[in-house]
Symmetry: C2
Subunit: 147 residues, 2 copies
């Protein structure tokens, strides 16, 4: 029984990434969890919405805040299949996220490439959960569009 | 005649900031200009939308992309009364903004506090336009809520 583990919720984020892949978006998915319940789920929709800021994390965070009726997600965990970019890390700081869990590292655009800490000081971070599966989806996507 | 100067468009951004102040939001305003036309205007709405990511810049950029039907704002200038934060700078990088003009510096949260360059390499930046007026609005707001 592995309910409520990081792996469990990352699998849900991966389901969102699958949805992105199915509509030819860069396959990144995210879920927001509060008290072991998923309160928001989203996938990258930059093409569909013609909005370069419509990353999975931004959409998930806004949906979660809307659900809770609170600007702050200080009792929430965000699971996302790819390391957040600087924009998303900045958003996670503003919402005072409790915990960030990401799958694959983003060696091109990941927020950890910036030496200044960008997350809220109280946010804890776990990385590498189901990293191979998360990365494989991304690689599949880019292999497909480069054909 | 001072049409189409940075000061002219910053005055329009200040009008947006005034609207924010009127509804007790942190008074930051922004306009997006393309070929000397304002194609989007927005003010901070974090309280109204219960969304810590609803900064003037994010709303203006999304509206401008929607108007143009393009993910990229590579022929656009964003005028904003306060120096963008890290999240907003990241968003401006994704949209490949041509030019950023801001008024007051944000010594607490401004993106320039991060030593890594966060904007797109092709984005040019002008700062300090109507800085005193921009800062005065912010100071007025915080003096009011601290009473």
């Amino acid at each position: 029984m592995e309910l409520y583990t990081d792996e469990y919720f990352m699998r849900e984020a991966l389901k969102e990434a699958d949805k992105a892949l199915a509509i030819s978006e860069v396959p990144v998915g995210a879920v927001v969890v509060c008290k072991n319940r998923i309160i928001a789920r989203a996938h990258n929709q930059t093409e569909k919405l013609t909005d370069a800021t419509a990353h999975a994390e931004m959409l998930a965070v806004t949906a979660a805040a809307n659900y809770l009726g609170s600007k702050y997600l200080s009792e929430c965990t965000l699971y996302v299949t790819l390391e957040p970019c600087v924009m998303c890390a900045g958003a996670l700081a503003w919402v005072q996220l409790q915990k960030l869990v990401y799958g694959a590292s983003d060696v091109q655009r990941g927020f950890s490439l910036v030496s200044t800490p960008l997350l809220h000081p109280r946010t804890t971070t776990v990385k590498g959960i189901k990293a191979d599966e998360c990365k494989k989806l991304i690689d599949t996507f880019f292999a497909r569009i480069r054909k």
